[in-house]
Symmetry: C2
Subunit: 242 residues, 2 copies
């Protein structure tokens, strides 16, 4: 329940970086395809890197948005936090993934927080610089809308899952998603998986124990390994409740 509190106004430590390295980052980043090299460098010139230790907040809930954030190295989890302290992880972002596509446009406080899960570096662009740049490169509109489209569909799909799917199915879906993105070896604790699936640690553990006894996964402290992904993909054919 207690969330680590750091200085609210200034987050992370500045990191030296070359324009070249930053351009490289934006070159491959999600949502920036279709830009010429000159524009990429212009964007890179607006950015600065900051480093965050494990557990540090990149930005917090209910604070006005100052920067556009793009992960350079490491891993960041973006989550929503209810008044009672319940957390629900929304996104696990690694190199090249933006943390807040909407925030910079309105500047308003939102529900989301972002927290570094490892030693991490994040590129910051002042929000007005970012919005101005997008206005000059309308192709970014389409890119951004495409990403938002997926984000909204994903949120809606999770909503439906919360209503009609049992924890087991939701957890399997989480595992499959992580498998696609990070490979078969997933370095997350059960508590982190629980926040992704929208359930409690205990229920997650119990469900994982069942999957383990079926030989579908292996798990040790802070790590899950998917052994037989095919068994997860056909939940209809394999009655997991056995």
């Amino acid at each position: 329940m207690p969330v680590s509190r750091l200085t609210a106004d200034k987050k992370g430590e500045p990191v030296e970086s070359t324009l070249e390295a930053r351009a490289e980052l934006f070159q491959d980043a999600m949502g920036f395809g279709g830009l010429g090299r000159d524009q990429i460098e212009k964007l890179a010139a607006l950015a600065t890197l900051r480093r965050f230790s494990k557990g540090e907040m990149v930005f917090e809930q209910d604070q006005p948005c100052q920067y556009f954030h793009l992960v350079a190295t490491g891993l960041v989890k973006v989550y929503i936090c209810s008044s009672s302290g319940y957390r629900m992880t929304y996104l696990l972002a690694r190199r090249g993934e933006p943390l807040n596509l909407i925030g910079p446009f309105t500047g308003d406080p939102r529900f989301l927080c972002a927290e570094a899960m490892q030693e991490t570096q994040v590129a910051h662009i002042p929000r007005h610089d970012f919005v101005g740049f997008v206005a000059q490169n309308p192709i970014l509109f389409n890119n951004i809308m495409a990403i938002l489209s997926k984000a909204v569909d994903s949120a809606n799909s999770r909503l439906i899952d919360m209503v009609e799917k049992r924890v087991e199915e939701r957890l399997i879906r989480v595992l499959l998603t992580l498998l696609d993105k990070f490979g078969a070896e997933i370095r997350l604790t059960s508590s982190e998986l629980a926040e992704l699936a929208g359930t409690t640690v205990e229920t997650t553990l119990r469900t994982m124990a069942r999957l383990r006894s079926l030989g579908i996964i292996e798990s040790e402290r802070g790590q899950v390994k998917i052994i037989r992904p095919a068994s997860l993909k056909n939940p209809e054919r394999l009655p997991l409740w056995v």
Copy 2:
């Protein structure tokens, strides 16, 4: 479970309308503030009106997006539908509210469906015309992002509610939202309220019976009337489970 099926390719009946009337519509519409009269009329010139009877689909799930849709009269519900037939209402749109802000940009099929809840007229703009117009009026991009921002926050907020709030609290939240938007007399069936709150008809009925016995609402067939909104707004102070 059975959803009314109509012709898939052509939906609704064309309706004659004056350019003036359409310009009037876009003038007040959500997301089109800040445009000059000339641009409004240019937009109106791209649009055509179509009428839909109660229960008719304006667009369906998993079909490519052809048009941008804006409600002119009546009421449309936008919902997501799971494979097993579970529906979750996402938006109740009346005059001036857009049905699909994202779809036109990507054109891809999405999860959403839209269904007329009354006799309704909807303005259609071919998606490429709409996207081209937005590109020429970048202020619209900010407007759209502002709306999407609210939509995403709302979806996230509902996700949290689904996990940690009981049906009663979710239903109260739905009622308060409807109160703000439509006033104290809400013309919806319990089944429709259930799809908004993410629960079943029976549970909705039971909860409404409790609220009714407390004198907070009155309800008859297909209609709910909120008598003491203040009692709903302080759910902490009034123990509803009494």
